[in-house]
């Protein structure tokens, strides 16, 4: 099988595959790519056959976006000229918000979602994170609920500007 993807230099194929897969965005938070999120873990291309394997990792065990992300990565790689594509789900090491890129955090804030801030350990039974309002920047905020519109978020409110907002939980 000869196709466009199989005639490049070693390492170049991996870069091309990574670039293609990294364009896939989170279906619930479309400003973030799976690279920003740290969901895209690895890409391997077999130089001889051109077969590509993409490793992705779930954020939360029940995250319903994972199926869609797997399909979108498959499509992105095929569009980039790869015909033999395998999407592999890896569980270990467990995903953490520490993998969110600096760029990803900035994009979240711009989008109106407060990025994770880890001043309080998540194991502190009654502890709360200190979260700045993504709208006005005030630190005078309060948590409305431990959970939010997706598995990865909690619902907060700003006491200064009065706006409710999503907070991307530390994980």
């Amino acid at each position: 099988m000869v196709n466009e993807a199989t005639v490049a230099e070693p390492g170049v194929l991996e870069q091309r595959a990574w670039k293609a897969a990294a364009t896939v965005t989170d279906p619930e938070i479309p400003v973030l790519t799976i690279e920003d999120l740290g969901v895209l873990r690895d890409i391997r291309v077999d130089e001889a056959s051109g077969a590509v394997t993409a490793d992705i990792t779930p954020t939360y065990t029940g995250c319903p976006a994972m199926n869609m992300i797997a399909v979108a990565v498959d499509v992105a790689l095929r569009n980039a000229g790869f015909t033999d594509v395998k999407i592999n789900t890896v569980l270990s090491p467990a995903w953490t918000t520490d993998w969110l890129t600096t760029e990803g955090r900035a994009k979240l804030k711009e989008y109106g979602i407060a990025p994770p801030s880890g001043q309080t350990g998540r194991h502190a039974l009654f502890g709360q994170d200190e979260v700045d309002c993504p709208h006005c920047g005030s630190a005078d905020t309060e948590r409305l609920a431990e959970f939010g519109s997706t598995a990865c978020k909690a619902l907060w409110r700003c006491r200064s500007c009065g706006e409710p907002f999503d907070y991307f939980k530390c994980h």
């Binding site: 779930p58 065990t61 995903w95 409305l144 609920a145 959970f147 939010g148 519109s149 598995a151």
Partner: protein, 257 residues
């Protein structure tokens, strides 16, 4: 007949199914609140917890199928076993009752599972350790969420206090089963694969005592405890729950859409 039997399951498969069944049955129970919770934030919270638990169950069932090697996928175990084939503890199958019952059941389970998952992260079994590492993070939120509500209900109004006290009287007898170990599991504990629940009892009691102190509740004496679920002897509630959960796959085996 499409019923799946697990009588000859290996210790590892049985252990994995026990963990999976706990997560699935509680996840399904909480999902019954969807659209019925006392306020929108709580509706969203409970369904998020359900989602986490069902996610954990999926990974565990998939692994049980792999370890069993008979071609059963993550759907076969939840959909094709009769009630006596389930190995969950009785606590998680108890009906939702009022909000106090739901919250206290969740608190007892999560306060136990958080240190349990943390211990399982050191398992000699790489897959169980990997699943535990994910589940542990989720359990941390489940404990915090349910603990805050136990305090609010216990330290709230006369009505909320009456309800959480009734929930405590009803549910306490189901907590003993969390700490049971049989010979099958003992062998896995000795091989470093399973967790000995005795090692997390201290953590569990500390969490319960700390939260109960804030809530103005008293941890009852252990006394007589209910048992049976881990051996397949369930309360009548599980069958009713499964009749809903399994209806479609039992009526139309293999149906997809």
């Amino acid at each position: 007949m499409t019923t799946l039997h697990i009588d000859d399951a290996s210790p590892l498969v049985l252990y994995t199914l026990r963990l999976a069944d706990n997560a699935l049955v509680l996840g399904h129970r909480i999902s019954e609140w969807c659209g019925h919770a006392p306020m929108i934030e709580e509706d969203i919270s409970l369904t998020n917890v359900a989602l986490d638990l069902i996610g954990q169950a999926r990974m565990l069932y998939a692994y049980a199928g792999e370890a069993e090697g008979k071609g059963h996928d993550e759907d076969a175990f939840p959909y094709l076993r009769d009630a006596e084939g389930f190995r969950n503890v009785l606590l998680v199958e108890q009906p939702n009752g009022d909000f106090a019952v739901t919250i206290l059941r969740q608190f007892f389970y999560s306060a136990f599972m958080l240190p349990y998952w943390r211990a399982l992260m050191a398992s000699e079994d790489e897959t169980l350790a990997a699943i535990a590492a994910k589940a542990e993070k989720e359990a941390a939120y489940h404990v915090r969420h349910s603990a805050e509500w136990v305090i609010r209900l216990g330290d709230g109004t006369e009505e909320s206090r009456r309800r959480i006290e009734e929930a405590l009287a009803d549910l306490w007898m189901y907590t003993g089963e969390l700490f049971e170990v049989d010979d099958t599991e003992r062998a896995l504990i000795e091989r470093g694969i399973a967790v000995d629940p005795a090692t997390v009892r201290g953590d569990w009691e500390r969490t319960v005592d700390q939260v109960f102190a804030e809530a103005g509740l008293t941890r009852p004496d252990d006394g007589w405890m209910q048992t049976g679920g881990r051996g397949g002897r369930h309360t009548e509630h599980l069958g009713h729950m499964l009749s809903e959960l399994q209806y479609l796959q039992r009526a139309y085996p293999g149906a997809t859409w």
